[in-house]
Amino acid sequence: MNNNPDVIIIGAGVIGVSTAFALSTAGLKVLILDRGSVASGTTSAGEGNILVSDKEPSPELDLALRSRDAWFEINEEIGGGFELEAKGGVVVAQSDAGIDGLRRLTSAQRKSGIDAQDITGNDLHELEPHLSDSITVGAYYPQDAQCQPMIATARIMRAVKAHGGEFISGTTVTSILVHGDRVGGVETNKGRFSAPIVINAAGTGAGQIAELAGSYLPIAPRRGFILVSAPAPQLIFHKVYDADYVANVASSDETLQTSAVVEGTKSGTILIGASRERVGFNTEIDFSILRILARQAIELFPILAEIQLLRAYRGFRPYAPDHLPVIGEDPLIKGLWHNAGHEGAGIGLAPGSAQLLSDAILGKSSFMDATAFSPTRFSRAGAK
């Protein structure tokens, strides 16, 4: 057992493990704790999106862009094996308003360094031959990528262990040890662990962890469903989604929002998302939502009507009121750092977020200014 780690990381999802990778690469001794096993929470409930297409120009887009490149660097560094693929994204617009919005978005994104190509008609159908004939306007994003997030996280974990890091699964944090205004470690169902730095990467549980420390972080779950088809010959070649998706991601509406997100994977299955709703941790499958997702997907790709649905699953995105991740030191407790609230973009943003946090902890300058992600933005509103 690691008696004196430099850092304790709560959460073995993609965010916690990526953070552990950055810190252990810098020479720190890390101890990762998770109430479940590696990648068993939100990380296992998504599609493995590494997207730049779905973000307006913003600090988040800058983070996404750096993160996307970092994924390919990590892939080299740890020997791959997690199905990382620059498959490219295709965003389509069906209504006049959608078309205008998409053109404005691509134009703005290009100024932020995104390769966003406006395409129409034949070019669009050459990229996606099975796309509905009625869809004639879209944008192509060659930088959009995807990976298999559970394997990615598990393989990065293996690299963390090779750096001397340690992981204990089945470990639930029951209290955060705080001396004065400084963190000293954690109490768990498996005993006490001490370290001068504790990182909260607990995903949808990040709010509870902050509360245990006597601080405040407004992270709530935003439920989503995904449909998975039986393996089929490749029909869909990119990540394809409706431009409404961008608006839905940014929306703060509590009620259900859906927009078709369709893609083929290396294993031959087709994944269909995406729904968003705030219903707490309600785990029941809502078949009316599955039906809407299927219908929207068939609108994009009529051929999908014949494809068999094999599985459906749901997950909970860790969501902050302003939809931005929380990366930085807690405003009240010194030594407690947060890396959470990445909503549906956690896979894509993980390596960049890990780098930002690691640089901040080590007092190094980083690739971008992290002020927009600072936990201090909530403290005035919600501190107890």
């Binding site: 096993s37 559970m150 293996r158 299955t269 039906r291 299927a294 599985r311 459906a312």
Partner: protein, 455 residues
């Protein structure tokens, strides 16, 4: 259109048939849903040709009487070829969906039965290796003998009717290999004596096998299968095994079919979607937990859900019939006493418990695996891949392995491999139950899912 019934029974095997009969006789309006072409389930699977069917079952009389009673009962509506692909509770109503129909009820009896349990071993994916249940289904449902020279192997009393059925219909059974020792019953003789019908049934099969000069060998198991040049089964490696299932010595046996049974796995598909409390039996099988009235535990206050038969723990047809009857009476809120049925159930349960003890599947089967042995046949995941996920990637459960290797993600949705993977990890109950959750019970097309009117 939505079809409503006071009570809906899912499954037309012994438990479901009896549940429907008792509930209808108590005055309830009953819908009985089954995925098959005919009632009877796996146990009374039949061709519809009375003469053929009579010859395939030792107790077809009982079955056909029950099926006739159900078919003739005006209070029971039977829906055949109706496979439920999903279930949920919406607004205090249980919703069951088939491809063309939606059913709703406030009182449900789950009698979905069980399916064959397979253990992986080198070559178990070779055509010609099948479950004893599949060989039995070919014979009972189609009158077809599975092969020219058949090895029947595994453990449990089910081997006997399978071997006797094949040999009495002209098939050549080259060996019946029972993993348990010859006198494994001896310490439990008192329970056996309380079930004379079981003794008679067993003696009948053994006589039939003797007549066909079929040899029964004890303490033996098929631990590898070998293919010929065309990729078809040519022979199996048979091992003398100890009580832990470790191999002591082996010999080769020529055959073109190996029909293997390691018991059954309860079909609990509906339990996860309906939020029913599940448990894990000593043998590692996940079951739907029920109380003395066969009632399930769940959080939906306005609906009643019961389960009967193998889905609550494998125990054979006598137990299933008793449980079905009790569930039928309870669901119909009948005043009729069920004390006689409870006695029947108790005796059958004791017998079922003894079966589990006499015919255990010991953990030594894991030693039969080689790194190349497939664990998941649908996705072709080898034992080596599963071990790598465990040793290098921190996989701790069947769920972890599924995500990291695709083991259990194929067409059967892990119905075959998940229990074995959970055994490989000595999984905790919670993980075993979680790994059986499948909200899409059987595949449907996205077009069917997208249909209007689906609740």
């Amino acid at each position: 259109m939505i079809i409503s019934h006071q009570i809906i029974v899912i499954g037309g095997g012994p438990a479901g048939l009896n549940a429907a009969k008792y509930a209808a006789n108590a005055g309830a309006d009953v819908g009985l849903i089954d995925s098959g072409l005919r009632l009877g389930g796996q146990y009374w699977r039949h061709t519809g040709n009375a003469e053929v069917d009579e010859s395939m079952h030792h107790n077809f009389d009982q079955g056909s009487l029950l099926m006739d009673a159900v078919n003739a009962n005006p209070r029971i509506e039977v829906y055949l070829e109706s496979q439920i692909w999903s279930a949920s509770v919406i607004n205090n109503m249980i919703i069951l969906r088939t491809k063309d129909q939606t059913f709703q009820t406030q009182r449900l009896i789950i009698a979905t039965g069980a399916y064959d349990r397979s253990l992986p071993f080198p070559g178990w994916d070779i055509p010609g290796v099948m479950t004893a249940g599949a060989a039995q289904a070919l014979l009972k449902g189609n009158g077809v003998i599975a092969g020219q020279s058949v090895v029947v192997a595994g453990t449990g009393p089910f081997l006997l009717p399978v071997a006797a059925g094949i040999s009495s219909h002209g098939g050549n059974v080259v060996g019946v290999l029972e993993a348990a020792k010859r006198l494994s019953w001896a310490p439990k003789i008192s329970v056996l004596i309380q079930n004379p019908s079981k003794i008679l049934e067993g003696i009948g099969y053994i006589k039939s096998l003797r007549k066909s000069k079929v040899e029964m060998r004890f303490g033996q198991a098929v631990v590898a299968a070998h293919a010929d040049e065309d990729g078809l089964l040519e022979s199996v490696t048979v091992a003398n095994i100890d009580k832990d299932f470790h191999v002591k010595s082996t010999y080769l046996l020529k055959c073109d079919v190996a029909a293997i049974s390691w018991g059954f796995t309860p079909d609990t598909s509906l339990a996860g979607s309906l939020g029913l409390k599940q448990g894990v039996r000593n043998d590692g099988s996940v079951i739907i937990e029920v109380d003395k009235d066969q009632r399930c535990t769940h959080s939906h206050s306005e609906v009643e859900i019961y389960a009967a038969g193998e889905s609550t723990g494998v125990g054979g047809s006598d137990l299933a019939l008793a449980e079905g009857a009790i569930a039928g009476l309870a669901t119909a809120h009948s005043e009729k006493s069920s004390s006689q049925l409870r006695k029947l159930r108790h005796r059958a349960q004791k017998f079922a418990d003894v079966l589990l003890q006499v015919y255990p599947v010991a953990a030594g089967w894991k030693s039969w695996l080689t790194p190349q042995t497939l664990i998941c046949r649908c996705e072709e995941v080898t034992y080596q891949k599963v071990r790598e996920a465990c040793e290098e990637l921190n996989a701790r459960s069947a769920r972890d392995v599924k995500f990291m290797t695709r083991c259990g993600m194929g067409m059967c949705q892990g119905r075959i491999c998940t229990r074995n993977v959970s055994d490989l990890f000595d999984s905790e109950d919670h993980d075993r139950i979680l790994a059986t959750y499948r909200p899409i019970i059987t595949p449907i097309t996205l077009g069917e899912l997208a249909q209007e009117g689906l609740l």
